[in-house]
């Protein structure tokens, strides 16, 4: 009896293996069938946040989706669950003859550079990072740093986020009742602090324009230091740092710490004692449970940047180097300000024009 079950189990194994083998051929042949139509292929490799992080990866992929809808490219993504997946996922796309490979985040910097060097025919775009990268294998500082000339097939998608942070700082200062606004960050690195620099400059601009004396807590551009929690994950840390800044008198807080910032939003919602300024995406949409305490959001429109890059592939105008998202090209922006008076709206428009024409400085 036992033997019978063993035999039947073996049969099941055999049939499974057979179906697996049988399935192999159509799966690998399917993409070949679509080849003759010459559809451009766009592949995106996420960082560890995953595709539904409501932030970097999700926004960047929105750009790929827009390219699928409007440009007729074929697009897909591969999720990374650990560091060693980056190279593997990029290689997967290379093997599939993908035309444009979008990698998300600076942690993919090395693997993107290495793959770009090995596959000069494939175009790459890396979100929120730009070369020179003096860190990859075989790259020597000062000589071959993966600069635009070294890596002509890579486009670094960067964002002058201080421009949008400036607008947020101005709006925050205008909305503050206590005369104190605050910001804090995840880790003290340029992609984080440029939000805070712009924010402080925006507040200072408000002060000079209105003769006010609104104070910024949590960041000091001159000292290049401020309040940081040391990670991007801990909602508890985000909550407690927000609490202490509010207790120091701030009533508008801008957390620049990805998901950890939502801890601050939760504190503001529960105590109804502060406004929060969202970052990267429009938090009234991506974190809608907190929408009644979201003053505005500093938008890093990665979708725009990714879409523009995909468009350049289709147009044949792709060039390596650096793309800078600015207020002018809509690469960065400010979401609508809650409860803004018409006067404030008009002022923000004027300032925006001033930043675009260069008459207002948003960083040192």
């Amino acid at each position: 009896m036992k033997k019978l079950y063993f035999v039947s189990a073996l049969l099941i194994i055999a049939s499974m293996v057979l179906t697996a083998c049988g399935g192999g051929t159509p799966a690998t042949e399917a993409p070949v069938a679509t080849e003759p139509a010459m559809v451009y292929k766009v592949g995106m490799v996420t960082d560890l946040g995953g595709i539904d992080d409501k932030s970097f990866n999700a926004t960047a992929y929105a750009g790929v989706q827009q390219a699928i809808d409007e440009l007729g490219v074929s697009g897909k993504y591969l999720e990374s669950t650990q560091q060693s997946d980056y190279a593997k996922n990029i290689q997967q796309f290379v093997d599939e003859d993908t035309n444009l490979i979008v990698t998300v985040g600076f942690l993919l910097g090395v693997d993107t550079a290495v793959a770009a060097k090995a596959n000069p025919e494939t175009k790459f775009a890396i979100v929120d990072y730009s070369y020179p990268d003096c860190f990859g294998e075989g790259f020597v500082e000062g000589q071959t740093c993966g600069s635009a000339s070294e890596l002509p097939n890579v486009l670094g998608l960067t964002f002058d986020i201080d421009q949008a942070g400036f607008l947020a700082g101005y709006a925050a200062a205008a909305s503050s009742k206590t005369g104190k606004v605050a910001t804090w960050g995840g880790i003290n690195i340029p992609p984080v602090t440029s939000f805070m620099v712009g924010f402080e400059y925006g507040v200072n601009y408000y002060n000079t324009q209105k003769g006010a004396n609104v104070e910024v807590l949590g960041w000091d551009t001159a000292a290049s230091d401020g309040s940081f929690i040391g990670n991007f994950e801990s909602l508890d840390d985000g909550r407690s740092i927000t609490e202490s800044l509010v207790q120091e008198g701030a009533d508008v807080v801008m957390p620049v710490a990805g998901p950890a910032g939502l801890g601050g939003a939760a504190y503001c919602k529960e105590t109804a004692s502060c406004w929060v300024v969202g970052v990267d995406t429009d938090w009234t949409v991506s974190a809608s449970e907190y929408s009644d305490v979201v003053l505005t959001s500093v938008l890093k429109n990665m979708n725009v940047a990714v879409f523009e890059t995909a468009k350049s592939i289709v147009d044949g105008t792709f060039a390596g180097g650096v793309y800078s998202g600015t207020l002018a090209n809509n690469g960065v922006g400010l979401a609508p300000v809650a409860g803004a008076s018409d006067e404030l709206k008009a002022e923000l428009e004027t300032i925006k024009a001033g930043i675009i024409d260069g008459s207002i400085a948003t960083n040192p």
Partner: protein
């Protein structure tokens, strides 16, 4: 299965199976895990079907992604022998080697959990030990310049193992000396390791630019790779197999290993027999930590060459499942690590070709583990009579001494 149990079992089964370790016992040991894997795959397929994907296409892509396509390998071989050009061949064996690369840290980490289970210790701290091992080896790898490989590489390996060993030894000592439960302490040590690595990556160990990652290790500390890029297959895999053999030898061929297993099976009896419980706890936790540390080390020196945040995909926690799946036997651990490696590695192709979220692999792994942990489900499902001998392995002793 412990040696005593298996020999007893063979004696009783003499009439139906040949003597020795083979025969009935191997079949019985493999039957439930094999059926568990198959059942996991079938249920995973049903999940795909329900979510609107084609499981046949998905598993086809999974297979091609983990083993490579046989026809491509064949034509690669032909091209190589005909023209001496190995480009096609390299490309065709990439999936298979990549699976072995993925399995390497699983083997080390699974051994770490298994050796703990053998002594009745539940090492949940493999994840922390993994990080510490990785950071120690990376530090040795990038901070010492101009060393010949023959010194630098072993030094980096040793450093990683030592770091993990110390991280494992502390909870082992706390348990032996103060009776503090190792589950609690290893979890605590995990958090210390995570936050310590956050700080190290942002502070003392940070590379020159702004990113919170370590510098690359020098080539002299890298585990040699056997093929050219993009193949990442390296010596680490064979070191993992060697480690598995050494763990087997230690557990089943040495007096110390016998003591460890005795302590695991019945600490009171072991103590009565004059065995030093304290020594054994500390020893096993150190060995377990060293193996977990080597998992991280092999990953740094063989694959990544640098450490950043999110370095591990939870190897330390998967390790527990691997030990369970492998019944805490080194051979079982290697086999289950290969299974996990092939599943994980093939998932990339499945995700790309069939558009199946990578999470489905976690579901399949979870199902397999549930079926292994509760073999009654599988026995009931396939109507297999339970064995006369209790086949369960001692896992932990629970609270107290």
């Amino acid at each position: 299965m412990s040696k005593t149990a298996s020999s007893k079992e063979t004696k009783e089964k003499k009439e139906t199976a040949p003597t020795g370790i083979g025969g009935g016992s191997i079949r019985d040991a493999l039957l439930v895990p094999t059926l568990a894997v198959i059942t996991g795959l079938i249920i995973g397929g049903i999940v795909m079907l329900v979510s609107g994907s084609n499981p046949i296409q998905a598993y086809g892509a999974l297979f091609a992604g983990s083993f490579g396509s046989p026809s491509a390998i064949l034509s690669g071989l032909q091209a190589y022998f005909a023209t001496g050009d190995n480009t096609l061949l390299i490309k065709s064996i990439y999936p298979f080697t990549e699976s072995l690369v993925t399995a390497t840290p699983y083997i080390f980490a699974g051994l770490a959990a298994a050796i703990g289970f053998r002594a009745g210790l539940f090492n949940i701290g493999a994840e922390g030990q993994f990080f510490i091992g990785a950071l120690c080896s990376a530090f040795i790898g990038y901070s010492i310049k101009d060393l010949p490989m023959i010194i630098h590489l072993p030094l980096a390996l040793l450093g990683g193992a030592l770091g993990g060993a110390i991280w494992g030894m502390i909870p082992g000592y706390l348990k032996a000396r103060f009776g503090a439960h190792e589950v609690v302490n290893t979890i605590m040590m995990n958090w210390i390791a995570f936050r310590l690595s956050d700080w190290l990556l942002k502070g003392p160990m940070q590379a020159s630019n702004f990113r919170p990652v370590t510098p690359n290790v020098f080539a002299s500390a890298e585990l040699p790779r056997f093929f050219e890029a993009p193949l990442r297959f390296n010596l680490g895999f064979f070191l993992a197999l060697l480690a598995a053999y050494l763990v087997y030898w230690f557990l089943f061929k040495t007096t110390l290993g016998f003591e460890v297993r005795s302590v695991g099976a019945n600490p009171d009896a072991a103590k009565y027999a004059g065995m030093n419980i304290i020594k054994n706890f500390v020893l096993v936790m150190s060995l377990s930590g060293a193996l977990a540390g080597l998992a991280g080390t092999a990953q740094v020196l063989g694959v990544d060459h640098w450490v950043g945040q999110g370095f591990s995909a939870g190897y330390g926690f998967d390790a527990i499942a691997l030990a369970l799946l492998g019944k805490s036997h080194p051979v079982g651990v290697v086999l289950s690590a290969l299974l996990f490696g092939f599943l994980r590695s093939g998932a990339t192709n499945m995700q790309s070709v069939a558009g199946i979220p990578i999470d489905i692999i976690s579901i399949i792994q979870g199902l397999v583990i549930v079926f292994i942990a509760a073999p009654a489900i599988i026995r009931w499902f396939y109507r297999i009579k339970s064995l006369k001998i209790d086949e369960q392995t001692v896992l932990t002793r629970g609270w107290g001494k």
